[in-house]
Symmetry: C2
Subunit: 378 residues, 2 copies
C-alpha cells in the first residue's frame, strides 16, 4: 500500500503517548512509539510500537529513520541518541538540549536561577554533613530530591530531622542528590504553554493543582487564586518557556507562596497531567496543540469551552488486573468525561485514567469530578 | 494477557466506525469491526478488524461471539444474521428489526406514513407506465429511488420528463424502485436523537444541512431557520425516534417546505454525517453518545460548546492516492478542527474527512469552515 502520510515518532507510549496519538491520527499523521510494555496505551489506539526501552539507542535510531517528526512523552530517555538524530537532520522537539537540561533537576533549577527566575532556595547535596548545614540554612525543613529520573513522587523526600536525613541517604543511596527549601505555599499553580515552530506562543488558563504523595491528584481551572496571582503565573510561565528551545507544549509548575509570590517549581518539556483538563475542556487540547507545534502547523485556540473544568486522576488503589467498575455511575453526572488509559495492570498510585468535569462554577465542576471519582474503581 | 475489557462489535469500519472507536477506547472498551477494506479507518485507530463483507454471515457470527455489544455504522448489512444473534442473546443495537425497516426505503416511508408522520407523497414504482402516471400525480417532477442499498446519492435520480424516466429504469435495471414527489423545500434540517437503554432521550441542536449531488456537503448549527421550524423539527425527530426500537443515535433528516411545514425525509438508525459537528462542537459527541447508549451507560450532555458550529465535508475531487495538502492553511483559521479519515485512495465525492469550525455567530463559523475547506486538498 502506498503510504503518503507523514509520521510522528514518540519516545514513550503510555497515557501521554496515547492521547498524543488520538490527536495525531485524525490530523492525517501516522504514529510510531518506542515503549517497553507489550500493547502499550498508545499502541492500543493505533500507534505502531517499537518494543524497547526508552534508553535503547537502536530503538531511538529506528524511530528517527521511520519518523518525520520525533517527540517525547517523558524526559527520562536517551537524550544523546536524540542529539545525534537531530544532528542528522531529524526534526526533534523539544530539542535534545532542552530534554537534557530538564533531565537534571539540579541543573534545571540552576538554569532558572541564573536566568533570574524566582525559585525556592536549593543546593547540591553531596553528603549528610552538607545536609545538616542545609537543613539549618533552609529553616529546618527541606526536600531531598534525586537529580535524575524522578517523577510522580519517585525520588522526593521531605526531611525535618537528622534521622530523616539519614533515611533519605539510605533510600537514595548512590544517586546524585540536591536539596530544596520546603516552600510554605498557599496554592500550587500550573500553566501550559505552547510554542509553535515559528516561536509563536499560546497559553492555557492557569490550573490550581493539588498533589498527594507528590502525585497530581486534582486540577481546577480557572485557578481560584485571584487575578493577581494568575497574572503573575502566566507571565512567569511564558518567560520560562521562552528560555527553552524547541516547539511543543511546556508545563510550568509553580508555587504561590503564603506571601503572594509565585515561584517556579518544575518544568515539563511536553504535555503534562496538569493540562489534561484541556481535553474536552479547551477548544484545542494540549495533545493536538503539541502535535500542531512539533509538525510546524499553526497553534489552535486555547479558550475554555465552559466556565470551569476540574480534573481528577484515577490512581490505582491496589495491585491487580485492571477492570473498570462504576462507569455508569460516573457518567450519570452531568459534564463528566472519563478517560481510561487501557493499562492491563492496576498498581498502587499508578495513573490508570482521569476524569474531567465541566461546570458553570468551579465548585460545581469540582464536586462533579470528585463524585465521579468515587463512583469509579479500576 | 488477561483481558477484562468489554468489547463492542461494529458492522462496518469506515469513518463512522473510526469515530465510534475513538470514542469507545478511552471509555475502557475494546472494539472489533467487520469491514472488507484492508486497514480500514477504524482499524487504523485501534479496532481489531475481521476482514469480510458486511453481508458475510460467518463474519457477523464471529463478531457476535467476540463482542459483548453489537452495533452498526451502516444499515446495508446482513440483518438476518443480526436477528439470529439477537435471538441468541447478543445485545444488538439498533435492533435488527429497526435495521431491516430502514433498509427498505419504501417500507420506511410507508411505516412513517402509517404512523401519521408527515412525509412527501410517494408510491411504489413497478414499471415505466406507473412512472408516467406518478409524474403527473406528483406535479411533473419526482425522485426515482432504489428501495435497497442506497446512500450518499447512489440510487437517487430526479425525473422530469418521459426520457429521464426511461433513463432511470435503464440505470436502476432489475432493482425494486419507488418514487417520491420532489419537495420544494426552503431548507433541509437534521436532528440527532439519542435513546438510552432505558428509553431516555437526548436531542442535539438541529442542523441545517445542504446537499449537492445528494451528498451532505455542509451543516450549520444551530439551524438558522427560525424558532418555530426548529421546534417543529425537534418534536418531529423525537416522535420518529420514539417509533423505532433499540438504543443508540438516530439521525432524522427533514425538509422544511416553502410553506413552513416540516416533513421527514429519511432516518439513519446510527451516527450520521449531519451529527459530525457534535465532535468538538457539543459536550458529548454523537459517537460517545452512541457508545454510551448501546452499552447501557447514561446519556451525556448535548449542549453546544460555542454559539455556532459549521461542518463541511472534505469530498474527494479526483481518483488517486490520498495525500493531505494545505493543513497548515486550514488550521491557521481560528476555531477550525480537521478530521482526516485515513482512507488510502481518494475517489470523486468520496468522504475523505470533514472540517468543523466554531464561531461566535453562524456566519463566522460558516466562513471559517469554507475557508478551511478551500485550503485543503486530499
Amino acid at each position: 500500500m502506498t503510504e503518503t502520510r507523514p509520521t510522528i515518532g514518540i519516545v514513550g507510549g503510555g497515557q501521554l503517548g496515547q492521547m498524543l496519538t488520538l490527536a495525531a491520527l485524525p490530523l492525517g499523521f501516522q504514529v510510531i512509539v518506542v515503549d517497553p510494555t507489550e500493547n502499550c496505551p498508545a499502541a492500543q489506539v493505533g500507534a505502531v510500537q517499537i518494543r524497547a526501552d526508552l534508553y535503547d539507542p537502536d530503538a531511538l535510531r529506528e524511530l528517527g529513520r521511520r519518523a518525520d517528526y520525533v517527540t517525547i512523552e517523558i524526559e527520562h530517555i536517551d537524550a544523546a541518541t536524540l542529539e545525534s538524530l537531530a544532528a542528522e537532520g531529524v526534526k526533534v522537539n523539544p530539542t535534545p538540549g532542552t530534554i537534557r537540561l530538564i533531565q537534571d533537576k539540579l541543573g534545571q533549577k540552576q538554569f532558572l536561577a541564573d536566568a533570574g527566575v524566582p525559585v525556592a532556595d536549593f543546593a547540591e547535596l553531596p553528603d549528610a554533613e552538607a545536609g545538616l548545614r542545609l537543613m539549618e540554612k533552609f529553616g529546618g525543613a527541606m526536600i531531598v530530591k534525586t537529580r535524575l529520573g524522578a517523577y510522580d513522587g519517585r525520588g522526593n523526600m521531605v526531611v525535618r530531622t537528622p534521622g530523616e536525613l539519614k533515611n533519605a541517604f539510605k533510600r537514595f543511596a548512590g544517586q546524585p542528590l540536591y536539596a530544596e527549601k520546603l516552600v510554605e505555599f498557599s496554592a500550587e499553580l500550573a500553566v501550559m504553554v505552547a510554542r509553535g515552530a515559528k516561536g509563536e506562543v499560546a497559553t492555557y488558563a492557569a490550573a490550581q493543582t493539588r498533589h498527594e504523595r507528590n502525585i497530581c491528584v486534582e486540577t481546577l481551572t480557572p485557578a481560584p487564586t485571584g487575578a493577581a496571582a494568575v497574572k503573575a503565573a502566566h507571565e512567569l510561565a511564558k518567560r520560562v518557556a521562552g528560555l527553552l528551545e524547541g516547539a511543543g507544549m511546556f508545563g510550568i509548575e509553580m508555587f504561590l507562596t503564603a506571601s503572594g509570590y509565585v515561584l517556579v517549581n518544575e518544568i515539563a518539556p511536553r504535555v503534562h497531567n496538569s493540562g489534561h483538563y484541556t481535553l474536552g475542556g479547551s477548544r484545542t487540547s494540549q495533545f493536538e496543540q503539541h502535535i500542531r507545534a512539533i509538525t510546524g502547523l499553526p497553534l489552535g485556540e486555547t479558550t475554555l469551552v465552559a466556565p470551569a473544568v476540574a480534573m481528577v486522576n484515577l490512581l490505582g488503589e491496589g495491585n491487580h488486573t485492571a477492570a473498570v467498575r462504576g462507569l455508569a455511575g460516573a457518567l450519570a453526572i452531568p459534564g463528566v468525561r472519563v478517560h481510561i488509559y487501557g493499562k492491563s495492570k492496576t498498581k498502587i498510585d499508578r495513573k490508570m485514567g482521569h476524569i474531567t468535569a465541566l461546570g458553570d462554577s468551579l465548585e460545581e465542576a469540582r464536586i462533579r469530578a470528585h463524585k465521579a471519582r468515587k463512583e469509579l474503581s479500576i
